[in-house]
Amino acid sequence: MKAARKILSMAAAVVVLSFVTFLAFAILPGDAAQARLGTDATPEQVEALREEMGLNDNVLVRYGRWVKGVLHGDLGTSIRFRCPVSDLFKQMLPNTLLLAGVAFAIILVLSFPLGMLYARYPGSVGDRFGVFVNQTFMAIPGFFLGIVVSVVLGIGLKLFIPGAFVSYDEGLGACLAYLFFPALSIALPKVAMTVRFLRSALLTEKQKDYVRTARSKGIGEWEIIGKHLMPNALAASVTFLGVIVSEIVAGSIVIEQVFGVNGLGRLLVSSVANRDYDVVQALVLYIGIVVIVLNGVIESLVQKGGETE
């Protein structure tokens, strides 16, 4: 019952999202016909093409047509690449997913031990230095960090060749080896965010009475952090990880540009610049659905976690 309601509300969100997205692009002054023909075209030519593309129909009719297309796997046509949007997706989605996956793995591996370490010795010299480093990483814009990584690890240490991206279909190993560096650039600021969050969540827990009880039993500090504080702090962290996932998506849009990764983010940016509306529309819908589903899953996870308490 609960699950059904959850799915229903998620579906409703997707429908609203698709309509809003569609509407946003439907009311644009410079429409697709204009964009396809360029500014040199005569008004008559544009009008003819509008008629041909069905742009003069009622918005709802056009929306219905678009939804029908999407359901059949037709996401529209890219004006720039002159090919179906779904083909572009097939080609670029795996690269983006791999990038996001590697970044997420780096975040998980680095931030949990670091967060616990900071919470163990709050206020110590190490902690202060750590927090300062943390804040520095949060202040650096992702693309600048990407550039620094390219310069230092790529050009300087020659660990990889910036710009020489290998797509997943050309060799998964080489692709992952290259993706590690953009993923690192995405991950480091998020690691800083997660560590900061965990540190403060753990320190908040540390002030609670039950910790004093645990100490009065003679349990060591590390055991208290691991067994008592972590489970309580994790409940809050699940929601935070949702934010992180959405941040990774955002980060990859820019970082793909920096490292020349042939992924959806790069496609999105170039499509926005070229006003390739069908592509932008499809991408927004896709990312929106991913975000809605992920948030839904995380929410139900949190509710489940809450029930045990």
């Binding site: 969100a13 609203v16 692009f25 644009l28 010795y121 709050p122 206020g123 110590s124 010299v125 902690d127 202060r128 300062f132 520095t136 202040a139 650096i140 814009p141 693309f143 600048f144 550039i147 620094v148 390219s150 310069v151 050009i155 540190r199 403060s200 609670k208 009475d209 039950y210 004093r212 645990a214 100490r215 009065s216 039993k217 003679g218 349990i219 060591g220 500090e221 067994k227 008592h228 489970p231 309580n232 409940a235 941040e247 998506v249 955002a250 849009i253 820019v254 540009q257 999105l268 940016v269 926005v272 006003r275 509306y277 932008v280 927004v284 990312i287 975000v291 809605i292 045990t308 308490e309």
Partner: protein, 789 residues
């Protein structure tokens, strides 16, 4: 003060100052024309003439950074101005008025916030087009939801606070409450949110311009410069490095400074170092004690505390010494009580024995536990162990039961694991079956029958009494030599209190455990303990056999404490007119609380009052006693019109004022005493001269010194604050005063003073009191008529 000397603040100021200097300097003049192309100077490295080098077109990077940073910061500021103003208004209205508007706004808000902001920015730019103005517009819209959310949640936190209820009660309009009373309290949060928003806007602008979608060439912005320079990374890395560094410095500077204000910074003192400093401070202050060496072995005492001094770090001054050289010892199996008001140092004394003082406190002195087992005598000199070494003795030789059974157990761990930790830590790890057997036995011993169910439960499934039994069972698991009980029954109702005390006595007899029992309740200590120490301001005022102390106290303070606990009878002094008219009549009152679920109407879930009737006569002190959660406060709020009754009629002939339980919550912390006293008259538009005169008069009536008028409310003690709260309620000249637990948050001696004041005011202003409390003893000596729920 310390705030401004912190490392973070100085660093942040330095970074921010540096970037600001660059931008301001660039306003007047730049070293070169930032757009002047010079083919001869292509990609020159940093030099004296061009400190930041030149770019691929021979333009001076420093000049371009100056102009570019200005563009970036201006866009950031404009963005946050748009988003900040609109977001604050929307958030404030949604948070303050709640209801359907709030639900709708927050639904939209949350869905917008779920999306990555750069994605929304891209869509908006795609719709609006590129360029500076469009970027400001797009980012401004983008930041509305996040700011609205913060403002709303801050306001939501303030709205249920008593000071808001108080202002409402005194007749302040909604807008006045929102803008005069609430907004000043969230100013700090608002500023921090704006600062974070500015940062995000600057970063987002840089991102967009970097992607070629923001500021268009030849105009420079930091993001633009980064994207232009990236192709020349190998040839001229400085074209990228300097704009990037300036951008990061600005953002980092804002973060560091706003962190100092939000209290988020790691600038907390190192507790290890802080403790060391406090100990050194104590030793230097009392050199004669530290010079004295460990005393002769006293094998007849199980716990010996000698010259214990405890101090807490303070923000501004030297550490604050709260316990001044206490010494005592306990024989095996003895029951020693410590009584005293809160702040007398009794709890910290207990905690320091276990090395469990809060982070900012430390102790010096000798503490040792001596006990005998089959191998002979052992002496554990605890004062010389660090926290790690203490782990061996905590829970084994010495155990503790805390005041709050609700929060003293880990909410996310089953009871079995929490209890088993007492057995399984350290070198000796018993087998699973043995653990189970011992836990079951321990639970049976504290009269908990349903052992299997309890062991597999989370604490939230158990009642307060059950939890405290578990705490005791856990503490006794290893049969410690000493058991410290810190107000173990204070949070429990009277019946459970009795049972827990009986249980402690039984276990103490069986295992010959010495019990150090701390309580503010003299009655309990008198009943339970063999010997008593009376604490006052960190020293032992009097010590002796329990009977002697309570029957023939020698010291004045002890006498005062005993008098306060027995209490004077105020009802005799209260002037109640004989045969007066009915002033309050409530009939068939029903109250229930519900919750909005989405768009569905209210569904009433918890019934609070059912068919309640009340009749109060003029001049009476009508007392209502009930347990917490029995709906007393709801009734109080109904009576003074803060809540509307669901069903029923209320006839009230006269103006109603109210005094809330917690004087820390019911007075706006931002204001001064005089401001607060004047506020009820200010709302009624009484001229300044008159209201000032009347407020000063009231200041004297409530027994505060004349020169307290300009003091901030935060500088006052709890008792003084309650006086102000009473004065504020009286300023609007009510005939009926609803007193909702007005003395429950105060110490016993202060309680007496406030009750005396209330008695005096009752007689002087011919008031009618409706007095609500959970404390039957207070009620019996204050109310002329008592109703028990």
């Amino acid at each position: 003060m310390k705030k401004y000397r912190s490392f973070n603040f100085i660093c942040g100021g330095l970074f921010l100052g540096l970037t600001a200097l660059l931008v301001l300097w660039g306003l007047f003049r730049t070293p070169y024309d930032p757009t002047a192309i010079n083919a001869a100077l292509k990609n020159h490295g940093p030099s004296l003439a061009h400190p930041f080098g030149t770019d691929q077109l021979g333009r001076d990077v420093l000049s371009r950074v100056m102009v570019g940073a200005r563009t970036s910061f201006l866009i950031g500021a404009a963005t946050i101005l748009i988003g900040g103003v609109i977001g604050t208004v929307i958030g404030a209205l949604a948070g303050f008025f709640g209801g359907l508007f709030d639900t709708i706004v927050m639904r939209i808000n949350d869905s917008l916030l779920a999306f990555p902001s750069i994605l929304l920015a891209l869509v908006l730019v795609c719709i609006f087009g590129t360029g500076e103005k469009n970027v400001i517009l797009a980012l401004g819209i983008l930041f509305i939801p996040s700011i609205a959310r913060v403002v709303r949640s801050e306001i939501k936190k303030q709205v249920p606070m008593d000071y808001v209820a108080n202002a409402k009660l005194l007749g302040a309009g909604k807008m006045r409450i929102l803008f005069v009373h609430i907004l000043p309290n969230i100013r700090a949060t608002l500023l921090v949110t704006m600062a974070v928003g500015f940062n995000n806007a600057v970063l987002a602008e840089a991102g967009l311009s970097y992607l070629g979608l923001g500021v268009q060439p030849p105009k420079a912005s930091l993001g633009r410069m980064l994207s232009e320079g990236q192709s020349y990374l190998r040839l001229a890395p400085w074209t990228v490095l300097f704009p990037g560094i300036i951008l990061a410095l600005c953002v980092l500077g804002v973060t560091l400074i706003s962190d100092v204000y939000s209290g988020n910074s790691a600038d907390t003192e190192d507790p290890v170092k802080a403790r060391r400093n406090i100990r050194r401070f104590l030793r230097e202050k009392h050199p004669e004690e530290s010079a004295r060496n460990a005393e002769t072995e006293d094998v007849s005492s199980v716990l010996t505390v000698k010259d214990l001094r405890i101090a807490f770090a303070s923000e501004t001054n030297a550490p604050n010494e709260v316990v001044h050289g206490i010494s005592f010892s306990m024989k095996p199996g003895e029951k020693l009580g410590i009584v005293g008001e809160s702040g007398s140092g009794k709890s910290v004394t207990a905690l320091s024995v276990m090395h469990l003082l809060p982070e900012k406190g430390a102790a010096i002195g000798d503490i040792s536990v001596t006990y005998k087992d089959e191998k002979g005598f052992h002496r554990v000199d605890m004062s010389h162990y660090n926290a790690k070494e203490m782990q061996r003795y905590r829970g084994a030789e010495i155990a503790m039961v805390f005041q709050e059974p609700m929060s003293s157990l880990n909410p996310s761990m089953k009871i079995r694991r929490q209890m088993a930790e007492m057995l399984t830590h350290g070198e000796h790890k018993p087998a699973k079956e043995e653990v189970q057997a011992r836990l079951t036995e321990a639970l049976l011993e504290v009269d908990l029958q349903d052992t299997d169910r309890i062991l597999s439960s989370y604490p939230s499934k158990l009642s307060g009494g059950q939890r405290q039994r578990i705490m005791i069972a856990m503490a006794m698991l290893n049969h410690p030599k000493v058991l410290i009980c810190d107000e173990p029954t204070t949070a429990l109702d009277a019946e459970t209190q009795e049972q827990i005390l009986a249980l402690l006595e039984r276990l103490q007899k069986k295992y010959k455990t010495a019990i150090l029992f701390i309580s503010h309740d003299l009655g309990i200590v008198k009943r339970l303990c063999d010997r008593v120490m009376v604490f006052h301001n960190g020293i032992v005022v009097e010590e002796g056999k329990a009977d002697e102390i309570f029957e023939t106290p020698k010291e004045d303070y002890t006498k005062q404490l005993i008098a306060a606990s027995e209490g004077a009878d105020f009802t005799k002094k209260m002037e109640v007119p004989a045969d007066s008219e009915e002033i309050v009549k409530v009939s068939h009152l029903h109250m229930a609380f519900g919750r909005m679920r989405g768009f569905k109407p209210l569904r009433y879930r918890t019934k609070v009052l059912e068919n309640y009737n009340l009749s109060v006569k003029r001049g009476e002190v009508y007392g209502i006693v009930g347990r917490s959660g029995s709906g007393k406060s709801t009734l109080a709020k109904c009576l003074c019109g803060l809540l509307r009754p669901l069903v029923g009629t209320m006839e009230i002939k006269g103006k109603v004022g109210m005094v809330f339980q917690d004087p820390y919550g019911s007075l706006n912390p931002q204001k001064s005493v005089l401001w607060l006293l004047e506020e009820p008259l200010r709302i009624r538009k009484v001229p300044k001269e008159e209201r000032r005169a009347r407020a000063k008069e009231m200041l004297l009536s409530i027994g505060l010194p004349e020169d307290y008028d300009e003091r901030k409310i935060t500088e006052l003690s709890g008792g003084q604050r309650q006086r102000v709260a009473i004065g504020m309620a009286l300023m609007s000249q009510p005939e009926i005063l609803v007193l909702d637990e007005p003395v429950s948050a105060l110490d016993v001696t202060v309680q007496e003073q406030i009750l005396a004041l209330l008695t005096e005011l009752h007689n002087r202003y011919h008031l009618t009191y409706i007095f609500i409390t959970h404390d039957r003893a207070v009620m019996n000596r204050f109310a002329t008529k008592v109703e028990i729920w």
